[in-house]
Every structure is written in C-alpha cells, then in structure tokens.
Symmetry: C2
Subunit: 242 residues, 2 copies
C-alpha cells in the first residue's frame, strides 16, 4: 500500500525522513502480548502536525500519528486552504442525470477542460469547491448551472468521500442531480463560466459512457478515476448480470 | 470549478497570489476576434515551474501555464516524489473479482485501514504505488497478494486516470483482476503486510456493494470516491435498466 514509504525509509536508515519510528512512552512496558497492543486505536496527534510550506491554495504538512501498536510515525500530506464547509468537505462532485418525457434513455453530463496539474485535458463529472456559507447541495446546483447551464434538482447526496487518502485530506460529496429536460429553464442551457474557466460540456447516454471514455482516451483526454469506475460499475452490472 | 481560486484572487486585488493575470507578449495585438484567440492550445510552461517545498514523499509546486486566450496564469499542485513508471503513472487501483465454480455470484475484495491524512478509517479497493522496474500489471498482482493474500490474473488494465486533477498530477491505472477461488493458492489466503501496514480485508458480493458501503459509513468508515462511484454505477444499471 502507500505505506511503502515506511519500508523504503527504514531500509535507508534515515531518521530525518517522514517515517520516524520510535519507542513510545505512552505504551507501558507491561508483559502484554503484541496482539493486545495491536487493538489500540490509531490516531493522529494534531497538535504535533507540522506545516512544511503553504501557498494561497495548498499546504504541505507532516503529521505525527500512532499506529495500532503504539508506534509513533510520520506522514506527509497536502491540504486545501479553501475548505469552508463546517463538516470539513472541500468539494462536490455532481452526477447529473438527464431525463425527458420524450424518451426513456437517461443521459449524463460530462465536462472536458485543460487541467494544469496534469498538463492536459481531462474528462470529469461536473464538480466544484463548496463556497463559504453554502451547503453541499447548494454548491452542486450552482456548479452544475455555472459549468453546464442546466438547472437541476438534488436527488441524493453521499456522505464524505476521500479522494486520495494516501496523499491528501481532500474530501468530497457525490450529489446525484436530476435534470428535467421538459422544463423551460433547460431548453437552451447556457453555461456561465468563471473568468479563466474554459469548459466543454458533453451529453452522453449512460449506457454508452464506457465507450465514450474509450474514444476520448484515444484522443488523449484523461478520465478522472471516479468517472471511470462509475462506467466500470455500469458495465459490470450488465456483463455479470449482478 | 476548482478555478474559483482565480475569481477570489482577482477580487482581492492581489498580484502576489497564484492567479497572476498578465498581458502576454506572445499574442500579437492584431485585430483578431476573441473567438479566434480561444482556439490557441493551452499549455504548461514546464521550465517555469517553481518548487515551493519538498519532503521525501511530496513536492509542492507552482506552475505557469497559458490558457486558451494566451493569458499567463499560475496554478499550485502537489506531486509525488516516488513516481518510477516510465509512463508516468504513480499507482494501481485493483478491482479483484472473485469467482468460484461452486456459485455464480461474483465477490469483490475491499480493504479497510487507518489513513493518517484523513485521520480515520477508509474503505478502498486494494491499491499501491508502482515500484521501480515494475509494470502496472505486475504491481497489481503483487499488491493484491500483499494486501489480501489472494493470487490473481489480470483481465484488463485501463489507461492513465487522474485522481484529483485540480490538486495533484497523481495518476493511476485501474487493473481488473480475476481471482479464481478454485485454485489451491487461493484456499487459505494469507496477507503479507509491509512493516507498519495494518489492513483489514473484506469480501463483499458485488450486488450488495452499495449496502455494505452504507453500513461502513454508519460506523464512521469513509469510502474512497472511486469505490463509491463504482457502487453507484452498479446501482444505476440495475435501477434504471440502462
């Protein structure tokens, strides 16, 4: 797992890295079996978290935690400086399901854009950071409108989900939104991009999501993992008759 | 979208942040329409990427890119220092499908563990960094064996997928692995955790993945987003008859 870091560091003999392994004074040296020690709950010692560097948007930190055996360890992570939601959720990912009385097929909206961190184009579900004072549902409806022009209604919202828990504390909620194509607001959807935002919206039948992602990949467009696994789930259900 | 950062910065009037907006000398001041300018390909100017800070495992950077209109902009990101795969992929995520001649149901393996960056327990698909000299398929088979004890055979491997493209350049491949429960190696699977790794393996019928994630969430275990959307895809296919 991502904790390979610890083995590598231990092998190098360095004590200055991020996987410092020390005897802990908190575990009494009693004649208990190792198995008992391993039932101790692991926890992060927040007060000992160290800020390495920060920009306006991201902060690099090294935190201290105790594992199941009571050993003290270190871990590097990155955190967003923009988190405003009281529940500690950074962003929403929106699954927009488009329905019309005219046909039974359900479509989904995808967004393509240039993403500087990966130096190329990605295909993703619409998504966005939660603004101060906003609920995750409000953020989902707003971001969907801004990015795609469509007006939606929240069907359900997940609990917090982690994005990449070896690397960051970033969490999101998945908000499933119904877009009724029969209402006047959705007849001529006009995206309202922010300054500097260049988003191309795609409308894809759910049943051909997987094929569309394959086509896009051939053109060098990289899917975000959560969208790819959504397509994988759709395909698996059909092929395995789950 | 995540580019909300730009608007906020522009509103604050700061020129020292990460969204510096300047006139670019590369776009000639010709009487061209804005629409034409927007067809220019956006690109990252790698030579101007600035390292802000680094630890042994993560590096915080600010990169410079030009958007579709030729404007120069800045973006913060975090990158892993451990990438060894020639194709630039950091890690593999494994989707282990368990089959047995004794029943038609397909099971999936999940892993639960304490993740310091989110200060709590997560439920994820098995996953791991690609070691130096390893292919993504080799990494998937090795990690599956280490984390769960099961021996698997690669069925298919995705292209590179981005994990959180507003925050990092981290990419993964999804490797679908078949685990044949009839072969002797899989009769008594014994995980081979690395030092400091405490992983609990769960075996779940694919068809009840969603319910299992709900149960785990009630106990405070946070799913990783890609696993949650896999379950969402399975459910959607069943409920919508996609």
């Amino acid at each position: 797992m991502w904790s390979r870091r610890c083995r590598v560091l231990a092998a190098s003999g360095s004590l200055l890295g991020t996987c410092l392994l020390t005897e802990t004074p908190l575990i009494p040296k009693l004649p208990v079996k190792p198995l008992l020690l391993e039932t101790k709950a692991p926890h992060v010692e927040q007060a000992r978290t160290q800020d390495i560097a920060a920009t306006q948007w991201l902060k690099l930190q090294t935190l201290t935690y105790r594992d199941q055996t009571g050993h003290e360890r270190k871990w590097d992570l990155v955190t967003r400086t923009t988190r405003t939601d009281r529940a500690g959720v950074d962003a929403v990912i929106i699954l927009p399901l488009l329905r019309s009385s005219k046909k039974s097929e359900v479509d989904v909206l995808l967004v393509q854009q240039f993403r500087p961190p990966v130096a190329g184009y990605t295909v993703e579900l619409p998504a966005g950071l939660i603004d101060a004072g906003e609920s995750s549902d409000q953020a989902a409806v707003r971001e969907l409108k801004e990015e795609t022009g469509y007006t939606g209604r929240v069907l359900r919202t997940s609990g917090p989900l982690t994005m990449s828990p070896g690397l960051s504390d970033e969490t999101v909620k998945l908000v499933v939104v119904e877009v009724d194509l029969d209402i006047p607001e959705n007849r001529q959807p006009k995206p309202q991009p922010e300054e500097g935002e260049f988003i191309q919206v795609m409308r894809v039948p759910l049943k051909s999501l997987s094929q569309e992602l394959t086509k896009l990949q051939k053109r060098g467009v990289m899917p975000i993992s959560g969208l790819f696994t959504l397509a994988e789930g759709l395909d698996l259900a059909l092929s395995l008759k789950v």
